[in-house]
Amino acid sequence: MRFLRQTLTIAAKDLRSEIRTKESLNAAISFAIVILVLFSFAVDPSSEQIKEMSGGLLWLVFAFAGALILNRSFARELSNDCLDALVSSPIPGSALFLGKAVANFVLLMVVEFVSMPIFGILYNMDWMRQPLWLAAVLVMATWGITVIGTMFSALTVNLRMRELMLPTLIYPMMIPALMAAMRLTTLLINGEGIPADDWIWVRLIVGFDIIFTSLAVTLVEVVLVG
């Protein structure tokens, strides 16, 4: 109970500061649109092949734009040494981590819900064929990305070259979740169900979420206390 309240206190704080300024949200959404436009130069959006790439492109966009939000997660605690204030307070590291992860998750979902229709329009794609399944995939993969991103944000928070290190470290780690999400999203956008062969991807995502969430929750206290 207490743990849950602490988690929510942190999540509420992060969301409140973000809503106050809307800085990372605006930046992430406009970055997402910029990338969509850039991609449309690189690949021909009117070709037939684009259908097979749709999931891939979409998740690339989410990954790149999402990194902006994840990057800020612990970094926003730095400017006034707020991290020290929180770590020395009675809140346990795991509640701090989960609170931030929840806030990031919400923000990422907002970015995704805004960019999906834009993607649909720009690339002439109907993504409402399997809404429930698609939502499930979005939630699971986004949580996976969030956990990795939040954990690595904590890991790199005191680094000299945070902005440099973070993208190089997180994307390779996220790949299992991203790969699965790309494959499943392509299937679902094209209106097919998930064939037996591709269930491995669902299992991969679920396993990823469970394993990395538990790892992160166990290790975050060690990371935060020097």
Binding site: K13, R16, R20, S79, N80, D81, A85, S88, S89, V225
Partner: protein, 232 residues
């Protein structure tokens, strides 16, 4: 039960010992000034007391408990170099947040009370981002004192403050000591510290060179301690 007991602490950065074999005890109600030259290890010591760093060897006990124990962490307040409040939130929101974090009984009341005591009640709803340095520092003080901590850990609290802000902080510290709280603060501004300190500890290159009640000589000549126990 002592407020702080430190036994045989060693802290290494890599193989370099920033603190070596530190032992001391601070009783409740004392005000300890932690002195030492640049790089002596004051910040390291305070961060360790606050549970932000772990010693490689030795034991730290605050009120008889481990310093990372959740109850212990609720019983002290920290004021470091940074102010530890959020720029994007208002003064009120910041204090309410920390009141919740510290499970203060009535967050709203506690926050309002401390805004008044630090003379920030007229800007309670302004974002911290718009505050001047002095206002920010006062809010930081409110944040650290909010949950009536039994122990205050302050790292160079007088730095870059003007006379008025220093006077406010000194009077709050005096109140805290009067109600039985313990204070440990590091500083280079000896004169300001000597007004409060009942005890003094001197670190030199990671070793504790002196610890005891404030020598009377220091009232006249604050650098007396350095000359007598330090490296000249």
């Amino acid at each position: 039960m002592s407020a702080v007991s430190v036994e045989g602490i060693w802290k290494f950065y890599g193989d370099y010992p920033a603190l070596r074999e530190i032992d001391f005890v601070v009783e409740q109600g004392q005000c300890l000034a932690l002195l030492g030259r640049n790089g002596a290890g004051k910040t390291t010591m305070l961060r360790m007391l606050a549970g932000l760093l772990r010693p490689q060897r030795g034991v730290i006990r605050l009120f008889g408990r481990d310093s990372r124990h959740a109850d212990t962490r609720g019983s002290f307040g920290v004021l470091g170099h940074g102010i530890g409040v959020y720029d994007e939130l208002s003064a009120m929101e910041n204090l309410r947040l920390f009141a919740e974090v510290y499970s203060v009984a009535d967050p709203e009341r506690a926050a309002q009370d401390w805004l008044k005591r630090t003379q920030l009640d007229h800007v309670a709803d302004a974002l911290v981002r718009e505050f001047s340095r002095g206002m920010r520092q006062r809010l930081a003080v409110a944040r650290a004192f909010l949950h009536s901590p039994q122990l205050l850990l302050l790292d160079e609290p007088f730095t870059a403050l003007d006379d008025r802000a220093i006077a406010l902080l000194q009077s709050l510290l005096k109140d805290a000591v009067a109600r039985g709280a313990t204070v440990i603060m590091s500083t280079h501004q000896l004169r300001e510290a000597m007004e409060l300190a009942t005890h003094v500890a001197l670190l030199a290159r990671g070793r504790l060179k002196f610890h005891g009640p404030r020598p009377v000589e220091m009232l006249e000549d604050p650098t007396w301690l350095y000359r007598t126990y330090g490296e000249g």
